[in-house]
Symmetry: C2
Amino acid sequence: MSLPVEVAKTSAEKTFYSLRKDIVEGRIPSGAKLSEAELASRYAVSRAVIREAISRLMSCHLVERKANVGAKVVTLSSAGLIELYQVREALEGMAARLAARHMNETEVDELQQLLSQHSAQVKHGQSYYQEAGDVDFHYRIVQGSKNQHLINVLIDGMYHLVRMYRVQLGMAGPRVTTAFDEHNQIALAIANRDEELAEMLMRRHILYSRNNIKNKLLTPSHFPTN
Amino acid sequence: MSLPVEVAKTSAEKTFYSLRKDIVEGRIPSGAKLSEAELASRYAVSRAVIREAISRLMSCHLVERKANVGAKVVTLSSAGLIELYQVREALEGMAARLAARHMNETEVDELQQLLSQHSAQVKHGQSYYQEAGDVDFHYRIVQGSKNQHLINVLIDGMYHLVRMYRVQLGMAGPRVTTAFDEHNQIALAIANRDEELAEMLMRRHILYSRNNIKNKLLTPSHFPTN
DNA sequence: TAACTGTGTTATGTCGACAATGTAGGGGCT
DNA sequence: AGCCCCTACATTGTCGACATAACACAGTTA
């Protein structure tokens, strides 16, 4: 019913999750250098563990590394965020289409349960849960596509980047109310096994998000966007 | 004019390229276990280097790894290849659309030059170059999209997997003649800045490939497809 | 004064050894 | 005989130390 919790078996995995959290949530700022020695002492592990963790961060495209120079958190730009949403539009559009084809009845039911439960929460004014709820919704649809390559690219590689952009460019929790209706319509299209409509609505949903972001970027509220 | 040659600065990078080549071209078969000690002695480097190389192979989804157990080359299935082509269709379709929008005149010219030069080669019966030529064509269009996320996913993460599938499932050098015409039409659409047409033709082009592969899979020529 | 070179420092890249975990095989118990 | 547990081995995970490359700064020279 809920998102599978990633459980770390090795010390490198734990460090990776910690680092990823610190980066995505902005405690390690965009563009910052990741010194292996410093991180090793901070997390109380050896440099080998840190290097392993940094390797995995590179897989997610959260950090970049130059040989013999070091690793830095990726530099964000508003253009980069727009590009990211373009790719999301194509990929999640396909995910919605495939979800309409491949989700079983149980999964469809759970998706709709999630939405109604979510709707109740928001009516009580807990827009706090919106971020997690939004992630959960999209997550389920991607999983529902049953396409492993799609799942890999989006879940492992892209969602963390999106969250990082949103946190660091200061656009947390936008578009709560309208996004709900869009989610509901998408879920309905999937329940009706209407592949075309599901894809179209999902693409439009993400396009709206992109436009919303564009507008926010035009009126920079606190800091430059590189 | 040609593909940028990846030059290895560190020992780990060299080992990574070697390993990737061995895996993609089938010398290390699908499903094989990658023993760190064995590879370390074979490539005459330390285990740390091997671990670094394996990390990068995991980034490309060419190998999988379980904690405290080890790394194995990914297991291929015909279903997985089909899924891969579904994702390619969405991504490269978008790449073609963006290429039509963002490629400059020089890049468009070079793309068309490549095709005519390529066409001449094939008329001389050198269908040998088809594989490389095909890769080159798609590569340029992806680069022409100027979308860094798209470039990352496709170039670093997906094309090697596609090559691996094609080699190991025994479908090298297919559809030479018809693919040419399709390439030409796509290049023409891009030259005319017809985004819609470019995307449609590219999607169709990849769909044809997928169908072609499906047919080959129905008549398994030499070995089971898992 | 400006540019270049040499050196010293600091970081990353690489290595071999030790620790911890998973696995297979043999022995004992029911 | 079949199942379980325990031991021994093999493999991966982690560590600290050394090798090597990049950077900064001072000294020299035109």
